[in-house]
């Protein structure tokens, strides 16, 4: 691992810096009094609980970073070959999924801290955070879709729409997501136990500027997974196919977690009624899915790289 971190020193240092910033935020930022009151805990317990989530989360970031660096290293190793350019683009896409982890956490925490002490800025900051989360993932999904389409060109396969079953799954998920967004009673203004609204935007703006871009990103994600699986099915090499399979699974895992996170964003009213234990269980479940997704990328990239090191 160390040689990989040394090889891509600037990326590693940047990532290390972001981890330190996030740790400092977790340890030193003021704790929200409303949260303490709601869950009947004191500041010390809140920090401990925060760390119990943050530490596994940072471990997942590191797994994600290792996966990205391995894939980038693999793409660099084969850059003169037909598939080299395609993998380089996919690796650039994965980078956006990796950097999204610390940046969305840091920006999210900063925004929360700021509006806790400047209530009048809440709506603007929530909007800023929402757009930030949309914009950071769009290039990632577009790049993995573009790179995976190039893989299909190598085997002279047309870039088709995903098979019926996959498209059906995409349509169902999209419809469900739109339903959840438009049934979120705290989407425009705070409601029930929720002190901060999800969007602070009218429905037409939520749909056009947030939901549609997200659905587009997920569509690219579905296409990318399908493209890699199609490439895998049509390319020779048992060992190579296995590595590609892991890569596709990893990408699918990232896609699933981004969809789940957005779905949960629309369930804030429901979540606010749950007790702390259930909430923590949901968070840990999400962390597990996230870890599995990024771990598959790391394993797939490792196996691809291994084939080039023999």
């Amino acid at each position: 691992m160390i040689p990989l971190f040394r090889k891509y020193g600037k990326t590693t240092v940047l990532f290390g810096f972001l981890i330190l910033v996030y740790l400092a935020q977790t340890l030193f930022a003021p704790v929200d009094k409303a949260t303490l009151h709601r869950y009947h805990i004191d500041a010390g317990q809140a920090r401990l609980l925060g760390l119990s989530v943050v530490i596994p989360y940072i471990i997942i970031w590191l797994i994600a970073l290792i996966g990205y660096l391995r894939l980038r290293s693999y793409a660099d190793t084969i850059k003169g070959s037909k598939d080299g350019a395609a993998f380089a683009i996919i690796a650039r896409g994965i980078w956006w999924f990796v950097i999204w982890l610390p940046l969305s956490s840091i920006v999210g925490d900063l925004v929360t801290e700021y509006y806790q002490s400047h209530a009048s800025a809440t709506a603007d900051l929530v909007r800023l955070n929402n757009y930030f989360n949309v914009l950071i993932l769009l290039p990632g999904f577009w790049l993995v879709k573009k790179g995976s389409s190039q893989l299909l060109q190598i085997i002279k396969k047309p870039v088709n729409m995903a098979p019926d079953l996959v498209m059906f799954a995409y349509i169902v998920i999209s419809a469900l997501y739109v339903f959840l967004v438009l049934h979120d009673s705290a989407r425009y203004l705070p409601a029930h136990n929720v002190s901060v609204a999800s969007y602070y935007e009218p429905d037409w703006l939520i749909i056009t500027s947030l939901v549609i871009p997200r659905l587009l990103a997920w569509f690219w994600g579905f296409q990318a997974v399908n493209n890699i699986l199609t490439y895998r099915a049509n390319v020779k090499g048992k060992l190579y196919q296995r590595a590609l399979n892991d890569l596709a699974k990893g990408l699918a895992g990232i896609l699933v977690i981004t969809i789940l996170l957005r779905g949960l964003q629309s369930l804030t009213v429901l979540l606010s009624k749950w007790n702390l234990g259930v909430l923590l269980a949901v968070i840990y479940l999400l962390l597990i899915i996230m870890a599995i997704g990024y771990a598959f990328i790391a394993v797939g990239a490792k196996n691809l790289q291994k084939l080039e090191e023999l």
Partner: protein, 81 residues
């Protein structure tokens, strides 16, 4: 010799079933690093030595002995041609 299949081509063709697009690069590296030859210089006499190196390398990426045995036995078939 133009258009004629070389030993290297035969090894690469078999290797593609296991390594896919990586096969040509993999075989070229083994030939260069362990036989100190260019791919087109590989002869049938080099095969046993080459198969040994390939077998060792293969064991580093998979523990599936059935796959390794199948690969090696297909390469060994080349020595009989």
């Amino acid at each position: 010799m133009v258009g004629q299949r070389t030993v290297y081509d035969d090894i690469t063709r078999i290797s593609e079933d296991y390594f896919g697009p990586v096969a040509a690069r993999f075989v070229s590296r083994i030939v260069a690093n362990h036989l100190n030859k260019k791919p087109e210089q590989v002869t049938l006499k080099d095969l046993p030595n080459l198969i040994n190196w390939i077998q060792l390398s293969m064991a580093m990426v998979t523990d599936e002995t059935a796959v390794i045995s199948e690969y090696v036995s297909r390469l060994n078939e080349l020595t009989k041609t």
